[in-house]
């Protein structure tokens, strides 16, 4: 049995303990090239966005690069944008899918429509009723998901279906319209700087959500709950309470989205909202790869929504039929979870010890 001779230590770098540690920490603070890569990862979507705009712009400058088009892109997505803010909340706290938010949007819109059109209820009251209806759905979710500790996916799949059924009943399976023009004015018809007002409502909601999540302890707590629920619990965070609030506030915002929907379209059909839930999640998850990679964040979601919108509007202008949108959204969703894996393998050669 040969015992390998000890290797002569001389060739090894003779850094003493303290210097060795300093070296280590210098290396840990990322090298310029690594910073570049981090930057790329963070802003990849912005870069692709810019490329997309450039691409469409070069191809159809007269159609694409106009104020009208910009207004179209930003304005037409306002309802989706507000729904995205709604979806963001339960996702941030780690209850990854609240599928019922799309139906809550629909319920809010239909409630508003039915009350306003069929019962002559004043618009403002009808709006509040709509939001209230959405909040009720949120409360139901809280009861079954948080209180009984069930899987959010399964429960909200159930409530989504139930609410959809309620919408059919309430509407008699008919489209209901036309909602008071007062509402439409306040939401869609009136414009500020060529943008429909609903865009600004969405922006306002975004700013509040962004502020709360980034600059308040409540937001930090929500973040920890979503990232490491057990750590949050051990640290004394009232996890279930925060989760409950996320569902409720999310539902309320979905209710607002429903109001916006009614104002935008004038007529509310029973399937309102159901087609929006998937794009909303696509935007949220795609947004999680940007700005603050690995984290659900509102700014990333904002960019993602308008990135996706630009894409679909551009495709429309090119003459592609609207179902290409489906493909685009679905592809974005898949890309959103794959991109981090690719960039990690490719650019980061970090070895993790077991």
């Amino acid at each position: 049995m040969s015992a390998p001779a000890p290797v002569d230590p001389a060739p090894v770098d003779p850094a003493p303990v303290d210097e060795a540690r300093q070296e280590e920490h210098r290396a840990e603070r990322q090298a310029p090239s690594a910073l570049l890569r981090t930057g790329l990862q963070r802003y990849a979507i912005v870069i692709v966005f810019a490329a997309l705009i450039a691409g469409f712009g070069i191809d159809m400058p007269s159609l694409f690069l106009t104020i009208g088009n910009l207004s179209n892109i930003l304005g037409s997505q306002a309802v989706l944008f507000i729904l995205v803010m709604a979806v963001l909340l339960p996702t941030v706290v780690g209850d990854f899918v609240d599928l019922s938010l799309g139906s809550s949007l629909g319920l809010s819109a239909m409630t508003l429509a039915v009350l306003n059109v069929q019962h002559g209820t004043p618009v403002l009251v009808a709006c509040l009723a709509g939001i209230g209806a959405a909040v009720v759905v949120g409360l139901v979710n809280v009861f079954f998901v948080v209180y009984f500790d069930n899987d959010p996916f399964i429960v909200t799949l159930g409530t989504m279906t139930i609410v959809q059924g309620v919408i059919y009943i309430v509407s008699g399976n008919n489209s209901v319209g036309i909602v008071s023009t007062n509402l439409s004015n306040w939401i869609f018809t009136n414009e500020f700087l060529s943008m429909p007002l609903e865009f600004y409502y969405g922006l306002a909601i975004f700013l509040v959500v962004w502020y709360v999540l980034s600059f308040t302890p409540t937001g930090q707590k929500a973040l920890v709950i979503g990232q490491s629920r057990e750590v949050a619990r051990l640290s004394g965070v009232r996890v279930n309470r925060q989760r409950a609030w996320a569902y409720i506030v999310g539902a309320a915002i979905a209710g607002v989205a429903g109001i916006a929907y009614a104002g935008t379209n004038g007529t509310v059909d029973p399937t309102a909202g159901s087609a929006l839930i998937l794009p909303a999640y696509a935007a949220v998850f795609l947004g999680a790869t940007a700005i603050k990679p690995g984290r659900i964040n509102p700014l990333g979601a904002l960019i993602a929504v308008y990135f996706l919108a630009t894409g679909t509007v551009g495709l429309e202008l090119l003459g592609a039929q609207s179902y290409y949108q489906q493909i685009f959204y679905g592809a974005a969703l898949v890309a959103s979870v794959t991109i981090p894996k690719v960039t990690r393998e490719k650019f980061f050669k970090r070895r993790r010890t077991a």
Partner: protein
């Protein structure tokens, strides 16, 4: 002041008369009386009295299942104790049960084994997490100011970390230091804010992740904390650490306090006696010295059971590793004789901790050859599936996640590797497997011996024994162990040493034992190689195989050149 009655037999003289050092007339920082906790019919804590003096470092010792972590969780407000217990903080009574998070408001700060750090958050966010939670829900956060004060805090404790780094990317060592700095800071703020003098830092197994040179820095950190007036509750299996840093120790066994000693006045052996319970230990030592019949049977049985379905492969082959190179290792070559237990000693970061995973194919390797007897394998081409076929076994450090399935039952875990051998003629012989598992459970002393209990209900030590049983049932030629007794209590630790030694001896199995517990290497291994900065720098055997010699050799690279 009433003398604390620990309510336990056998130690009346020694513990009861312990008064605080005369200089201090302060009330104890924390005192509990009569704390009990039941989980169903299981009495996890039985009328525990404990006192932590002002500015004292108290060690809390006990096997897994002794009630240590239950006691900590009661203090943390995670568990509610049975009615009748009382808690005094700084001399004033606090109503039990505590609400979660309330502990930080009364001057208790905790650092758990799992560190309670959110890996997805940045260092700064984790550092300020406690403040965030304790403060108002809507106070605006000024991140720039936070950054500055965060840097100042790290400076104060002489810890260098990048505040914006994702915590999950830090080395385990740095994560541990971050957790401790955070806790110490929370205490400092508590004292400043409340004007109280008392505060207690509870450290649950802090040295587990730390190599020896870092342990000293940890102790410096602890001494700084104590100097500012905090007390420390130091919970650990690491007897050397406990003896180095604590003033007093308290031993829990089966939910009761069985000993309360001044650290300097008690020998390590006596401590082990208290922890394990003297009669068990006596049997242990005798057994270790004379290659116990029981163990022979234990291993023999598991092997024999397999021999019936055996493949007639010759027992025992030499293992030769040649030119192993990857990110951290440079041209490493060594040999393990059949039946030999080769220890690998290296500080965290030396590359030693990569070895078991490289040889198993769990981590991709750059380059190297592994020779098992007559076969030559390219290390770069290894994968876990291949290694299992080649009868190489890996017991990873992260046993709960990488070694065992927490949601399957004990017997399902144990027979996992040999199931296919009991599937004959289209019928799955479940009964045979359960019987096999039951034998293994009893021979490997897994407690409680319930084959159908879910894995997650077993303590660390018993899970490790189950993991070992699982691998040994597969008749490996080469057994790779990484930190096999991390988080394992003293009793189970000794069992594991005996099982591996017996298996190696009986079956001529080559064993590679990689750990930062150098004393363990000295006790168990036949030979130890030392790895420093990826290179093989020393070999120790025979008389020179002592803990001190190993530590010295592992440190030598850095020390010689400073």
């Amino acid at each position: 002041m009433p003398v604390t009655d620990s309510g336990t037999p056998g130690d009346s003289d020694q513990s009861v008369s312990l008064q605080k050092p005369p200089a201090s007339a302060d009330p104890p920082a924390v005192e509990v009386r009569g704390i009990s906790k039941d989980f169903g019919s299981n009495r996890a804590l039985d009328n525990v009295d404990l006192r932590i003096g002002h500015g004292e470092v108290l060690g809390l010792l006990g096997q897994n299942g002794s009630g240590k972590s239950t006691l900590v969780k009661v203090l943390a407000g995670v568990y509610d104790p049975e009615p009748g217990g009382r808690l005094f903080v700084g001399g004033e009574e606090v109503a039990l049960p505590l609400a979660p998070g309330q502990a930080s408001q009364i001057g208790l700060s905790f650092v758990y084994q799992n560190l309670a750090l959110a890996p997805g958050l940045s260092v700064l966010e984790n550092l300020t997490l406690g403040q965030r939670i304790a403060g108002g829900a809507w106070e605006p956060i000024n991140w720039i100011a936070e950054h500055r004060s965060g840097a100042a805090v790290l400076d104060r404790y002489d810890v260098k970390l990048d505040l914006d780094r994702r915590t999950g990317e830090l080395a385990p060592v740095d994560q541990a230091r971050l957790a401790i700095v955070r806790a110490a800071e929370d205490l400092r703020r508590y004292r400043t804010r409340s004007g109280y003098k008392h505060s207690v830092l509870v450290l649950d197994e802090p040295t587990v992740f730390l190599p020896e040179e870092e342990v000293d820095r940890l102790f410096d950190l602890i001494r700084t904390v104590v100097a500012e007036g905090a007390a420390v509750l130091f919970i650990s299996h690491d007897l050397a650490a406990v003896r180095a840093i604590t003033d007093r120790v308290v031993v829990l066994r089966d939910g009761r306090i069985v000993g309360e000693e001044v650290t300097a006045e008690i020998h390590e052996e006596a401590l082990v006696d208290l922890i394990v319970g003297a009669p068990a230990r006596a049997a242990g030592t005798a057994a270790a010295e004379t290659a116990p019949v029981e163990d022979q049977q234990a291993v023999g049985l598991t092997l024999a059971a397999m021999e019936s379905a055996g493949d007639g492969k010759a027992a025992g082959e030499n293992v030769l590793v040649e030119h192993l190179t990857d990110e951290r290792l440079h041209d490493l070559s060594f040999e393990i004789g059949a039946g030999e237990i080769l220890g690998v000693a290296g500080l965290i970061g030396s590359g030693a901790e990569e070895l078991p995973y490289l040889l198993f194919g769990a981590h991709p390797a750059g380059f190297g050859t592994l020779r098992l007897g007559a076969e030559t394998l390219d290390v770069a081409g290894l994968s876990p599936q291949r290694s299992v076929r080649e009868r190489i076994a890996l017991v990873p450090a992260d046993r709960a996640v990488q070694g065992l399935s927490q949601s399957l039952t004990l017997w399902e875990n144990i027979v996992m590797l040999v199931e296919s051998e009991h599937y004959r003629r289209g019928i799955f012989r479940r009964g045979e497997l359960v019987t096999l598992a039951r034998e293994a459970i009893s021979r490997f002393l897994i407690r409680p011996p319930r084959s159908h209990n879910v894995m997650s209900t077993f303590s660390g030590g018993n899970q490790q024994k189950a993991l070992l049983a699982k691998w040994l049932l597969a008749r490996p030629r080469l057994l790779l162990l990484h930190e096999p007794t991390q988080g394992v209590d003293v009793g189970a630790r000794r069992d594991i040493y005996r099982f591996v030694k017996s298996a190696a001896a009986l079956h001529h199995m080559a064993v590679l034992w990689v750990t930062t517990e150098f004393g363990e290497l000295a006790e168990v291994c036949d030979r130890v190689i030392v790895i420093t900065q990826g290179r093989h720098t020393a070999t120790l055997a025979g008389e020179e195989l002592t803990e001190e010699a190993i530590s010295a050799a592992a440190l030598r690279q850095t020390r010689e050149d400073s």
